[in-house]
Symmetry: C2
Subunit: 306 residues, 2 copies
């Protein structure tokens, strides 16, 4: 096995396409992943934006199989593998490692609230112990607005110092720059801090961050990656503003249905608009407004069927 | 198949015993369930108190098998079957129905926050449609302090009116009597409203409720059931006060570890104290304080190995 390189850059928490019967659509997923890679964006399937928490372990394993069978580069894959149940997290993480994924993005167990750092530490440590592989690379996933259960800087430090070759990074979706900065300030060697949104990409790069893993990279990957590549250029602030404008339009709507409606439009494929309950698709009015606003910006989405 | 009777009375969200390797212990679970039944308390395994959300679907199926094989009465079984992923909820609910469980206690999908009633309705409706059994009886599980995603009275009404033979009750763990009362006031036929704690048992019975499903019924079942049976007697208020006193002692500590420490003590079986991460067992000091306080009350727990 190849020892996985630590990941940096822009990744997309890949949206999961569904069929009419709400089963995942492996064919469209591969198509979308290929397009994202062609835009130089890495793949973080089964994240929040992927409706990953509305998928069973078996569904995710099957979709991963589909990606590998289609020849998707495992060096660009950081699937979400954190579940509420220890056994589920271990099973899926183990599978991702066996397939050669360069990393896994790991939520803490998120059902029980007000749990202690000791309890969360024990949970991650159990997973690491049970997977028991030198190829495992964990990027912690801190998203308190949704998971409610967060991963504090002291806990990150403890995990990364105890498992320096395994716990190698974090995605911060707190939406709080001070918190991201706290992760960046930890005394850790080559620890990769990803902003959870491109809104913080430039700030993160200037402070020594590794990139971002952002929902909107599903529809605006090239421009986001451009800022990542050119963050030291003298037009970086303008580029950040351009990204912010596009994001602002999409953020007026529920994010996941809005991304799917956008992909459905630009790929001329209405099936893409399907979401799994408990989410609901945009109404016709919302959809019209979103697309009108998107078409009026400089935003240009290449045909997703490329 | 026998058409399941609607459930009433006191149920215990049965704590799940674990072995040293953190795997569920089917033998001790059967033992505890038998004891609870002998105290006239029904069984709601895989609830919040059961660390149900730290168990995989497969682990729950296997534990259910163990209960059935041991001859536990399916008429007293209301396992928790709600997961984040539609496929998981369908699989486990289907299994519980096939085994003949009288009901299932169903969380809404709880990862995505700020979801609409329409989205939650669609989720429950999909489960009902996919299980597709006239033997399915769903008791909705409203526990906003932990799941964060709640089930509003209008949503309850819509579900129960659309599926009157299937959506037959609710457990309200909001801790808010006004909310429980709102469920009781819904214009529904024979809809079973369970308080989520015995603190509200008398109030619930006086207002037409069906009983309670309470964590502390794991250690204080007989007394709680006594109030359920005698709620119309002239000592009912005193009985409620007695229950409140015991609960108050336990609530000074993290509930699940405290219940397990209590069972470990009274059954003289230290293994019972094991919890799964992200929970942590009581410290020695906490444990001593809890047991001292319990022994000083009138609280008497029969030997759990009876």
């Amino acid at each position: 096995m190849v020892v996985p390189e630590r990941i940096s850059g822009v990744l997309s928490p890949v949206v999961t396409p569904f069929k009419d019967d709400l089963s995942p659509d492996p064919h469209r997923l591969v198509q979308h992943c290929r397009w994202l890679l062609s835009q130089n964006v890495g793949l973080a399937p089964f994240g929040t934006t992927s409706e990953g928490n509305s998928l069973s372990v078996e569904e995710k394993m099957s979709l991963l199989d589909g990606l590998i069978d289609a020849g998707i580069d495992t060096a660009r894959l950081m699937p979400g593998t954190g579940h509420c149940a220890l056994a589920d997290t271990v099973k899926l993480t183990n599978y991702a490692v066996k397939l050669g994924c360069a990393g896994t993005l790991m939520l803490p167990p998120f059902y029980y609230k007000d749990v202690s750092d000791d309890g969360l530490y024990a949970s991650f440590a159990e997973v690491i112990d049970r997977v028991g592989s030198s190829e495992l690379r964990i990027y912690l996933y801190h998203i308190p607005p949704i998971a409610q259960v967060g991963i504090s800087p002291p806990l990150v430090e403890r995990l990364a110092k105890t498992f320096p070759e395994t716990v190698v990074g974090i995605k911060d979706s707190s939406g709080d720059w001070n918190n991201t900065n706290a992760f960046l300030q930890l005394d850790l060697d080559d620890f990769r801090v990803f902003a959870g949104s491109e809104s913080f990409l430039l700030q993160n790069m200037r402070a020594g961050g590794a990139g971002c893993i952002s929902a909107t990279a599903n529809v605006n990957p090239a421009a986001i990656n451009q800022l990542y590549a050119d963050w030291q250029s003298n037009v970086a602030d303008d580029m950040q503003q351009g990204l912010d404008k596009v994001r602002e339009i999409i953020e007026k709507f529920p994010m996941i249905p809005a991304l799917k409606a956008t992909i459905a439009e630009f790929s001329d494929d209405p099936q893409w608009a399907i979401v799994r309950p408990p989410l609901v698709a945009l109404s016709d009015d919302q959809r019209s407004e979103l697309l009108k606003d998107l078409h009026q910006t400089a935003f240009e989405l290449p045909s997703l069927t490329d």
